[in-house]
């Protein structure tokens, strides 16, 4: 990186992970947007009352953008669409959120399938007299051209069933900057769907997602090793989008790209200088227990001594590509590459957060507390209570309960161990992490229940935890739970400081993925199995 690049990076604001997760951060686009919003009003603006002018401006601008969209779809194949596409693209970016949303609703509703044409073609198709034999024993002579008609009508029907917005997407895809624009458009669309869940918007989203999957085929993505020699504009994106362990300063970034570390990104030829997803890797002697070792402990080992490649962070940069699993291919290709370049590295593991654990545990504790209250306060036994009672379980072993109550005897926060735990975990400033005794008391139940959360809690047959589901569907297994592995505020808040190692065993990846896909089966190490057994006993 040259001096100028360095300066830019040093002045650039370091975004928090939470922000980076939400926003389609792209400085170039952001600037364009700002410019558009100020510049482009003018030609539509009116003299006189400024507010009225601004409102008029916004309305007529929205209309103009809509007109460009219409043109971009309806122009004949070889006409000059590029200029129109450019106008539409710039116009859209200059629109405020509400106007974008309106436009998306219009696109979804008015540029969908041509249903009259579909019905006409269906009638044609049903009118074709095809016999089975005709299709099975095609002779070289197609008598009456009936076979040709079948294939032709099928093709036409397939074509007619494509929504009109397909044309806009296809044209944008070949237009410079168009692919990036489509990812912004989809991010807007996903936000809109959260507000108004219309069938037409869902159909638009599903169609656009399908197209994006095709265009982002791993066959066209370039695996790029990101180093300190890359441009500031690229490194800036790494800082901005790192969603797992925020990069705090330049030294931190440099270290993640230096000796004993690797960072790989997937680049699409049409979106240069902006990895769609990137992964950070530490080369270690053993599978790390804590993120502390990886991020801050000095110095890194000699690369030749490494036997383990630890994936400690994976972040995607495009909210508009949500639901498109590029990480799977990225991890596979990085494993291949490291195996080829460093044959001594035999272990491929992650050190991963468990983002949903504490939230799940809190609701679990709360509902048990409620059931317990029902039981004790009101002795009338209604049929409802009976049902409720069947859901009661002992989340804690008696000795765990005693330990917890004893460890905060001087400053009790509840009547029962469950209440104490609920209260401790719920507090914004987790005091318990500063008390060795409380930590000791909570370790056993938190680790045990975490194994249950990861392996047994499912949603539609898949692991409830999003990160777990990601690695399991990629073919990893659950290897080890690590106590006090992430002592950051976020770490305590999400998972009580616990982190998990997922293990990618090159020979078993496909088989694991298949088992998980077919039956939801989760591969877990003997360590994890022991926790699960303890958990089963606690419930009896």
């Amino acid at each position: 990186m040259n001096r100028k690049g360095l300066e830019i990076l040093m002045r650039s604001r370091i975004r928090s992970a939470a922000e980076a997760g939400k926003l389609p951060v792209n400085f170039h686009w952001k600037e364009l947007e700002k410019k558009q919003r100020s510049d482009h009003c003018e030609p539509f603006g009116m003299a006189g009352d400024e507010d009225a002018a601004a409102s008029e401006c916004s309305e007529s601008k929205a209309k103009r953008v809509r007109d460009f969209m219409h043109e971009a779809i309806h122009m004949k194949k070889k006409e000059i669409v590029d200029a129109t596409l450019g106008e539409f693209l710039q116009g859209y970016i200059s629109l405020a959120g509400d106007n974008r949303h309106e436009l998306l609703v219009t696109l979804a509703r008015d540029y969908s399938v041509n249903r009259n044409q579909v019905r006409e073609l269906i009638q044609q198709y049903l009118g074709l007299e095809i016999s089975e034999g005709m299709l099975e024993h095609q002779s070289e002579v197609d008598e009456g051209g009936i076979l040709s008609a079948v294939y032709r009508t099928e093709r036409n029907l397939r074509q007619a069933l494509k929504p009109l917005y397909e044309i806009l997407f296809e044209r944008l895809n070949t237009y410079p900057g168009g692919l990036k624009f489509l990812s912004i458009l989809r991010a807007d669309l996903l936000n809109l769907i959260e507000e108004v869940n219309l069938p037409s918007l869902r159909a638009l989203d599903s169609y656009l997602k399908e197209k994006l999957v095709t265009w982002l085929s791993p066959a066209v993505l370039e695996l790029h090793r990101i180093t300190w020699d890359d441009s500031a504009s690229l490194l800036e994106k790494i800082v901005a989008y790192e969603a797992v362990h925020p990069i705090n300063n330049l030294q931190d970034l440099k270290r993640r790209l230096g000796v004993g570390r690797r960072c790989f990104g997937y680049l699409h030829p049409a979106i240069p200088c902006e990895p769609l997803i990137f992964i950070e890797v530490a080369l270690l002697k053993d599978v790390a227990h804590t993120i502390q070792e990886v991020l801050w402990d000095e110095p890194p080992i000699l690369e030749n001594d490494a036997t383990c490649a630890l994936f400690y962070s994976i972040s995607s940069t495009q909210p508009g590509l949500s639901g498109i699993n590029l990480g799977k291919f990225l991890i596979k290709r990085v494993i291949e590459l490291v195996r080829r370049d460093m044959p001594c590295v035999l272990t491929f593991a992650t050190l991963s957060p468990i983002p949903g654990y504490i939230q799940w545990l809190l609701s679990k504790l709360a509902s048990q507390l409620k059931l317990a209250e029902l039981d004790s306060e009101d002795k009338r036994v209604s049929s409802e209570d009976m049902t409720a009672r069947t859901f009661r379980e002992n989340l804690l072993y008696p000795e765990e309960e005693q330990e917890i109550l004893a460890s905060c005897a001087e400053n009790p926060t509840g009547n029962s161990a469950v209440e104490v735990m609920l209260c401790l975990l719920r507090s914004r400033n987790p005091e318990w992490v500063k008390s060795d005794r409380l930590l000791a008391a909570l370790q056993a139940p938190l680790m045990r229940l975490c194994s249950r959360y990861l392996v047994r809690e499912k949603k539609r047959g898949k692991a409830l935890d999003a990160v777990a589901n990601f690695h399991l569907q990629n073919g990893a297994m659950i290897h080890r739970l690590n106590w006090m592995a992430d002592r950051s505020e976020k770490g305590f808040h999400q998972s009580g400081g616990i982190m998990v190692n997922y293990l990618y065993r090159p020979g078993e990846i496909e088989e694991n993925a298949q088992l998980y896909f077919n039956s939801g089966h989760i591969q877990a190490s003997p360590d994890i199995q022991r926790y699960l057994e303890l958990d089963t006993h606690s419930r009896i």
Copy 2:
């Protein structure tokens, strides 16, 4: 290029353009093929009679490949398809032509659209009671879920209308080497269709072509400047595929990549080291009149003195991508790039062959001769003859006729000038090019008729000449005809040595393309217009 690469290149056979045009030349693939054919027989071979074993081998091998194909299509989404795809791909390459053809027929016929499913979904779709108002005024409440059902059924029907082989194509596209394989498969398919033109094969081809167009979107193609520093494996491809002006030796190649010259290729990330198409450019002071100046005249001018970029050769390397116009995007991007890097270059022109001219002229001369004979030999005037007579025209001016007859008076090859011309142009060893007098006599009519061929001879509203149609649809205009511009055997054979300059005027490209697309209008320079006027007079 390093010493080893140079050695490889020097020993590699220099292929003729004709060969390169026909064959899917790829050394890596060719080797694999050879290896497969010898190795892979073994596991299926039988002891005893070698011929029987060979035949058995070929049959059972074909069956195995078919089984792999079936598996590759029918495996569940996340199962281990990669191994199967690899087996299918290697197996297919090892098959002989006939077996490949059989397999393609099977693929086209047995893995097409699931027609039962389509009919079922059509019935479902027709059963949905949609009112117009419902679709136009979608409220946020979708009563009875009818709108959701419409979008869902349309999506399912669209999905069902996709042939089963779509799955194979999609899977191959993400498999290493799969895209290149699909281009080989399509080349085989195109050959097969020339033999047996089945509707199912045409449908397969049209579907595969559509997929290839998507995957080869210009958005993912990398414009690469090819230089002497590129790898031998890449330069070898340039030598092998150069289809316009064969590269005769290393010096020739080096010159085309050196000072005053440019060579650009389009690379796809999934097919590294093999440009899909490449273009050769000479930087000149003026638009060149002859290929001699470009290829052999020494020395090249200083690049800073150049004002014209001359495209003198464009070759595609993949017969399987036939009909997919990558050249258009390549030319546009090269123009952009040269304009940016060399602002003094203001003229963008080609020096192009006219591959179909002499063939067209010969048939024209022959039919005129026939009509003339009918006229003179048989004086009975049937209605057929009357019709024939309306097609008679004077291809030559009287003075041209005299000139031609006079210039070969000593050694006449026919009774009329038309017959003489026919005979001269038809001969394998064109003697006329060695006689200054014959050359002088033929120049006027050959140039005049060439303008007619290029501008006025159309097929379905487009220029009959393939190269002309290519440049015109890209937005070029016809600038100048050049006499004795290509004195190679091929040059005389194709176009009587005439070459044409097409001109790409950056500001007019889109407009020209649009005019040509809409009405078949061909932009031609005043020079060309004069020839056309002369030609119109000759016919009166």
